[in-house]
């Protein structure tokens, strides 16, 4: 059993919030450069080059890549041999978010209730926290700020087994087609298959944590990902929806077992600023 004071988590979360918003992953830069070479639209090429310039500037100026610095989505892998002491774990995470969004000059984008008052909570809390208990005595923390524009284009559909993989592919491609320029293409498409209604959505979001350099370890799903990516990039939507070949940079699938009667499919759309940073305590 390893004791960890929850106060140790606060500065870690603070830094992850800031770093995720200032510094885009190398995988995104590499992928956009790759697509730039293949882009047929002059406007599309121009947009991609401005995105690359922006990633460079944000890191240099220490300013957020996008003004929508997102809701703070926090994934925790908590080792089962860790004993948390010194206070409330969830409150420590929220305090880290509070400090990161204040000290990093990040935008506060949370409203207290979704419909009636919609008053800004002014410190970007509460964070959206998803915890998995795993073997070991460490805590892995991932902060993945999620913007509203792309999140709004996401969808869960309870499909039938009879719809088959063709049905899934059609649903995902249609979802991206209907999104057009709204989610800031080129996008990354997270797909959650199976589980139940809410688990499919969480799988879709978690799938977005993969690096764009990595293939799906399961060749069966890697093939489906490639097929969907090709179909999406044939839609013509292009960078920012202004027309072109680069609509998605990658498609990620995570799957889980499900009920004999069900086939839940979730699509979580991520803008080109696929931001996530991790640390281990």
């Amino acid at each position: 059993m390893r004791q960890i004071d929850v106060k140790e988590i606060i500065p870690v979360i603070r830094k992850l919030c800031i770093d995720a918003n200032y510094y885009i992953g190398e995988d995104v830069i590499k992928k956009i450069k790759e697509f730039y070479e293949k882009e047929e639209s002059e406007t599309g090429k121009e947009v991609l080059s401005i995105l690359l310039e922006n990633y460079e500037l944000s890191a240099k100026e220490k300013m957020p890549i996008c003004q929508d610095t997102g809701v703070a989505v926090v994934f925790i892998e908590l080792g089962q041999d860790v004993h948390l002491v010194g206070g409330d774990f969830v409150e420590a995470i929220n305090e880290g978010v509070r400090q990161g969004y204040k000290d990093g000059y990040l935008r506060k984008s949370m409203v207290d209730d979704p419909i009636i008052e919609r008053k800004n909570t002014k410190d970007n809390t509460p964070a959206l926290i998803y915890t998995d208990i795993v073997p070991g005595d460490k805590i892995k923390i991932t902060v993945a700020p999620k913007g509203g524009g792309s999140e709004n284009m996401s969808e869960v559909k309870m499909m039938k087994a009879a719809d088959g993989i063709e049905g899934v592919v059609d649903f995902v491609v249609d979802r991206i087609s209907r999104s057009g320029g709204n989610p800031c293409p080129p996008v990354v498409v997270g797909i959650g298959l199976g589980g139940d209604f809410e688990q499919s959505a969480l799988l879709a979001k978690k799938s977005l944590l993969r690096s764009l350099d990595q293939k799906n370890p399961d060749p069966k799903w890697a093939k489906v990902e490639e097929e969907i990516l090709e179909k999406i990039n044939n839609l013509g939507i292009g960078p920012q929806g202004l027309g072109g070949r680069t609509t998605a940079l990658g498609v990620f699938i995570l799957s889980k077992p499900c009920h004999i009667a069900s086939m839940p499919v979730a699509v979580n759309v991520q803008c080109h600023a696929a931001r996530h940073k991790s640390a281990v305590i």
């Binding site: 506060k108 929806g241 072109g244």
Partner: protein
């Protein structure tokens, strides 16, 4: 062929008439910010025949909720937000004299029709290129609805604010034509 144009605000009708979808535009002068919550309030004022917090005739509204300004900067990162959420409000503002909107993503047919009727245009700024855009903003001050925080209405002084003509005054739409061109 798309051209590069430099525009000064307030915008002039003859200059707007020359813009075509796909043109690269650099805007200099004063523009105003507004997004969901501010639009709701502006349209409520128009419905009550009350005065708006700024003279909207010939003006530009930029759909943005900027990040806080870091020390030494007039504004934080300030890229566009998705425009369709302002579609329910845009026709009333265009009827009141608004000449251009800047945002990202396609507009509804109702808004496109209203742009034709009012000889107004819609510019696409690049979503996510928020630091590049912020560099063109030289001054920013809140002029209304301070209580809305990032959603308050700001007056921005911009120099060569970069954007692309997405809808011209003739009803053409880059989001339809561009996609048709590259669809396979």
């Amino acid at each position: 062929m798309p051209k590069t144009k430099y525009l000064q605000t307030p915008l002039k009708e003859d200059e707007l008439a020359q813009l075509q979808i796909g043109d690269k535009v650099f805007i200099t002068g004063i523009i105003y910010t507004g997004r969901d919550a501010a639009h709701k309030r502006l349209v409520e004022l128009l419905e009550k025949n009350e005065e708006l917090p700024f003279d909207i005739k010939g003006q530009v509204i930029y759909y943005v909720g900027p990040a806080p300004a870091p020390p030494g900067k007039p504004i934080g990162s300030a890229g566009p937000t998705t425009s369709y959420r302002m579609d329910p409000y845009a026709p009333a503002l265009l009827d009141a004299g608004l000449k251009a909107m800047i945002g990202k993503g396609p507009r509804s047919q109702l808004v496109i029709d209203s742009m034709v009727k009012n000889k107004a245009v819609y510019f696409a700024a690049i979503g996510g290129a928020a630091v590049v855009v912020a560099e063109s903003i030289k001054e920013a001050k809140v002029i209304a609805y301070e209580d809305l925080g990032t959603e308050a209405i700001r007056e921005l002084r911009v120099e060569n604010f970069p954007c692309i003509v997405a809808n011209d005054i003739y009803g053409k739409d880059i989001y339809q034509e561009g996609v048709e061109k590259y669809k396979r």
